[in-house]
């Protein structure tokens, strides 16, 4: 059974690609990163990194995908190996990242997506009406820490929904969903941004007007500097994760294009659309509303652990202040928007795995979709059942963060240095509907790999409090969130050493066990995919398809 999937229209492809990039991070991660890294100071490094790292990686991944499609390859193992000399056999195993990451991220992302769906339901059903701020925060803690049948059912529903849409194919499933969901997402976002920008002090219980939050977000924070390495590491990291580069899903989507189709304009359009959702809409919702009701100090304190708390624990309470009707509409729009952002991303995670199974093992579309669904069920179940022991966070860290950087760094080395920049440039510019400035040839070869190395080293050797100046002053101490200390579980070991309470000690030891088992499971998944790639390679040799 040959893989004859295709896109129905150009707009559908661009919306699906933009949907792949637009995720919960656009609304919850970006504003938090901005306020933590200098507010207005953050935006210049952020946009610079978009130009020097984001756009070049989009060009590279789109053109690699289209190149792979020429040989009938729709997943990264064989797309990468086709770009390298045949004796460099390891590239197909580098390509394993492009399947592994999607599988592992989809496994926990589906659970996150199910929270948004459940909260959409609860907003419409009026579950949050009359509840105190503490009550709503406790609702979230109880929902994720002790998942009952409700959490399990919503997760299973999301998993089945994703699998069903994937089984309908690209043009009949993914593209149709993107065409409906992306305009709705932007519409919901505009409504919430309007509400965020019009919070008035003294009205509906707000203590401050939205201008307080906007000043906080867009003015350079006193003492912050554009030359602070911390700001650049954060900006590069945000650009990297918001665009869904380094995953393999862009390669897969692009591999279903024709050879005479443009990649340059499509890549620019999808990339800028993601930026619009992130910068213009994402910045106008969570922070202005939260600052309006709780003030800047509260927001600073509550964004230290990320944006999830604000999105799920705080906003449902704040929506209640706008009256019962607007509370339902705002809750529906906010969580609906997050759900739409989530599902367009998770669908993109399914296609590389399906492409691989269809190409190499001649599976039908339906069979490959349900195989993917079954894999997500097995791999994702521990993230639901053992969320409180950190399984979800482990998946997010290793698959959703570190693997992306490693893969992107290796793929750009392959593209610019092994495949060759001249051939690579030809791939990017052939049939382009826009003139790609020649400077990108230099950027792709030198600047983007350097920036990626910067992000990678930044993650590996992250200093305490992200204080990069300490590195240059020689007073550098590794943060517990650095890759090195994470591998060593040093944060957990410190907590265990400091605990005297027996019950708490038992919980921490359990957490340590679950963290280590999660890593083992992820390594086993990677090894399993690598073994399948080897089997596929032998099959290709046997069938004379390895030339």
């Amino acid at each position: 059974m040959s893989n004859r999937e295709s896109w129905g229209s150009r707009v559908g492809l661009v919306l699906a690609m933009a949907g792949n990039a637009v995720g919960l991070g656009n609304f919850l991660r970006f504003p938090v990163q901005a306020v933590q890294n200098g507010g207005g100071t953050f935006i210049i490094p952020y946009l610079t990194c978009f130009l020097l790292m984001g756009i070049p990686l989009l060009f590279v991944e789109w053109s690699m995908g289209r190149f792979g499609g020429k040989f009938g390859d729709h997943s990264t193992p064989f797309i990468l190996s086709n770009m390298a000399p045949k004796k460099q056999f390891l590239w197909k195993y580098v390509g394993v990242f492009g399947i592994f990451t999607n599988l592992a991220v989809a496994a926990y992302y589906c659970y996150l997506e199910s929270w948004t769906l459940s909260y959409t339901w609860h907003s419409v059903a009026g579950s949050f009406q009359g509840q105190s701020a503490e009550g709503i925060a406790n609702f979230f803690n109880s929902y994720v820490m002790n998942p009952g049948w409700e959490a399990f059912s919503f997760w299973l529903f999301c998993l089945i929904l994703n699998t069903y849409i994937l089984s309908r194919g690209l043009s009949g499933g993914v593209e149709k969903v993107a065409k409906i969901v992306m305009p709705l997402l932007i519409l919901f976002g505009i409504f919430l941004a309007y509400k965020g920008l019009t919070v008035e002090a003294g009205v509906d219980g707000a203590k401050y007007s939205s201008s307080e939050g906007l000043n906080f977000l867009w003015s350079p924070t006193p003492g912050s500097s554009i030359w602070d390495p911390k700001v650049w590491v954060a900006a590069a990291g945000q650009i990297f994760f918001t665009l869904s580069v380094g995953m393999g899903s862009i390669h897969c989507y692009a591999s279903y294009m024709r050879q005479r189709d443009d990649v340059a304009l499509n890549a620019m359009s999808a990339g800028w659309m993601n930026e619009f959702v992130e910068v213009c809409l994402g910045a106008a919702i969570v922070i202005p509303i939260s600052v309006g009701y709780f003030g800047i100090d509260w927001v600073i304190e509550n964004t230290k652990t990320g944006g999830l708390g604000l999105g799920f624990r705080t906003l449902p309470y704040l929506f209640q202040q706008w009256g019962p009707v607007l509370a339902v509409i705002s809750g529906l729009f906010w969580f609906g928007l997050l759900f739409f952002a989530g599902i367009t991303s998770s669908l993109a995670m399914g296609t590389p795995c399906m492409g691989f199974l269809q190409d190499e093992f001649k599976m039908s579309r339906q069979k490959s979709a349900w195989t993917f669904g079954a894999a997500i069920f097995i791999l994702g179940l521990p993230t639901v059942l053992f969320f409180k022991y950190g399984v979800f966070d482990e998946y997010d860290y290793w698959a959703g963060t570190i693997s992306l950087v490693v893969f992107a760094l290796l793929e750009i080395i392959l593209f610019a240095w092994v495949f060759g920049m001249d051939k690579g440039w030809k791939e990017i510019t052939s049939n382009a509907d826009i003139k790609v400035p020649n400077i990108f040839k230099f950027i792709i070869k030198w600047v983007t790999p350097s920036l990626l190395l910067f992000v990678f080293v930044g993650a590996f050797f992250k200093p305490v409090n992200n204080d990069w100046n300490a590195v240059f002053q020689g007073t550098w101490v590794l943060d517990d969130g650095s890759v090195i200390n994470t591998i060593l579980n040093s944060g957990l070991h410190k907590k265990i050493a400091a605990t005297t309470d027996t019950a708490q000690l038992e919980e921490l030891n359990k957490q340590l066990t679950f963290v280590n088992w999660s890593r083992l499971l992820l390594v086993a998944t990677f090894a399993g995919i690598a073994a399948l790639v080897y089997v596929a390679y032998r099959k290709r040799v046997k069938e004379g398809r390895w030339v």
Binding site: S6, W7, G8, S9, R10, V11, L13, V14, G40, I43, L47, K70, S209, S211, E212, L214, N215, L217, W218, S219, P220, Y256, M257, R258, Q259, D261, D262, L265, N266, M268, S269, W272, M273, E275, F276, V279, C280, D433, I434
Partner: protein, 43 residues
């Protein structure tokens, strides 16, 4: 209290740049619609 000038300028310029490029590139995509795949596609 309204926004301070510095924040207002940073916000407006950033939003205009991002929204402007988004609209420009999407408009170009709409203006040059390709049917991406067809049976007569000769590779």
């Amino acid at each position: 209290m309204g926004m301070n000038t510095q924040a207002l300028i940073t916000m407006i310029i950033t939003n205009l740049v991002v929204a402007g490029f988004t609209a420009f590139f999407f408009w170009k995509v709409l203006k040059t619609p390709h049917v991406l795949h067809s049976e007569d596609d000769a590779e």
